[in-house]
């Protein structure tokens, strides 16, 4: 997650790009592409759209590169662009955010969700696990979900998340802790001894 000391920092790569070195921007793309694609994929649940939006993020960032303020982290800036695009996409598609629980009188039941893959005859445990993880992440309350996704799939540090979400650092730590506790409970079957 941390950038190695031998690698040029993001801010230097931005300055070099603005000076005409397109190779520097290619380095930025390689540095962030996987993190952005994973972040967007976990929020949108569609790999194709995640890739398309990641491409759009790079395009927008490149267009506005001269307006980047180096007093803020580049990672925070690029993830904010990605976050805003994801929000727009979710609004456009109106992805339904439904609870996985339903009440039936006094009892509460879990909905049986139809999987997107070959569900009835799923035999591979890793595929099952992948579905379970996706569902567990989707079932988190939205603000917890986003922090977990930013941390584990966007690979942002606690400080970067705090800056991006304009939250106190303590709140970020606390929400991540609670989010992971919820995940741990939901995924208990896959975490046993």
């Amino acid at each position: 997650m941390a950038t190695g000391s031998a690698l040029p920092p993001d801010e230097e790569l931005v300055a070099r790009t603005l000076a005409g070195d397109q190779g520097a921007f290619a380095t930025l793309v390689r540095r962030y592409q996987e993190r952005l694609a994973n972040f967007l994929f976990r929020l949108l649940r569609d790999l194709e759209t995640a890739h398309d939006l990641a491409q759009e993020v790079f395009l927008r960032v490149h267009q506005a590169l001269d307006r980047y303020d180096p007093q803020y982290k580049f990672s925070t800036w690029i993830f904010r662009v990605a976050h805003n695009l994801a929000i727009d996409e979710i609004r456009k598609r109106r992805v339904p955010m439904v609870s996985l629980q339903r009440s039936d009188g006094d009892e509460t039941h879990e909905w049986e969700l139809p999987g997107e893959g070959p569900t009835p005859y799923q035999e591979l445990r890793n595929l099952e696990r992948g579905t379970a993880i996706g569902e567990a992440i989707d079932a988190l309350p939205p603000d917890y979900k986003e922090l977990v996704v930013l941390r584990h799939f966007g690979e942002l540090s606690y400080e970067e998340i705090a800056q991006l979400k304009r939250m106190p650092l303590g709140t970020v730590k606390n929400k991540l802790f609670r989010g992971r506790q919820m995940l741990k409970d939901r995924l208990a079957d896959y975490l046993g001894d």
């Binding site: 996987e34 267009q63 730590k173 896959y190």
Partner: protein, 193 residues
């Protein structure tokens, strides 16, 4: 006890996430010796991190190249290109001037650098003097022409008419420009829906 245990679980959560400083790590190690049951929690958290990491998706092949190929010229690049030719021309002219003046300065006793500066100063003085001379001659010429024109009554009348028409034209042009400037923001906002 409950609060202490909660604090320890939070520390454990951040330890597995690689976000503890040295002091916190030492505190946690002590606590783990006091509460061996926390080791199970630690293992579960480590597994949770492991399965989240395993769920990361790879970026589709050729993504970097596709991003770089799709980038249109950014506004800041266009601005840089617009300045490139005049800047290059200025540099070339400056180099040429330096060369010419430098060759002349070879003959100056104080060395090439002082000679160049002296020659540049001479050049500036000569340019100022010739400019002033031209200006004085122009005004003298205008004065003579006016004197000649106003020496006869019909010609004086004709000259006054031309001057009045000129003034009227200037006033009309200024008014037109002011009206255009007032309408410009409306245009900039784009067509009304």
């Amino acid at each position: 006890m409950g609060t202490e245990r909660d604090d320890l679980r939070q520390l454990l959560d951040r330890e597995v996430d690689g976000a503890l400083d040295a002091g916190e790590r030492a505190l946690l190690e002590q606590a783990l010796r006091r509460h061996p049951d926390l080791a199970l929690e630690r293992r579960r958290l480590q597994r949770l991190h492991g399965i989240l990491q395993a769920e990361r998706v790879a970026v589709r092949p050729g993504f970097t190249e596709a991003v770089l190929a799709s980038l249109p010229p950014a506004p800041w690049q266009a601005r840089r290109r617009a300045w490139a030719f005049p800047a290059a021309a200025m540099v070339a002219l400056a180099a040429l001037a330096w060369l010419l003046v430098g060759l002349e300065a070879e003959r100056f006793a104080g060395g090439p650098l002082l000679g160049s500066l002296a020659a540049l100063a001479d050049f500036a003085v000569a340019a100022a003097l010739s400019g002033a001379g031209l200006l004085a001659a122009s005004w003298r010429g205008v004065g003579m022409a006016l004197g000649e024109a106003l020496s006869l009554p019909q010609q004086a009348l004709f000259a006054a008419g031309v001057l009045a028409l000129d003034l009227l034209l200037v006033v009309l042009l200024r008014r037109g420009r002011r009206t255009g400037a007032a309408e410009a923001p409306e245009v900039a906002r784009g067509p009304r829906s």
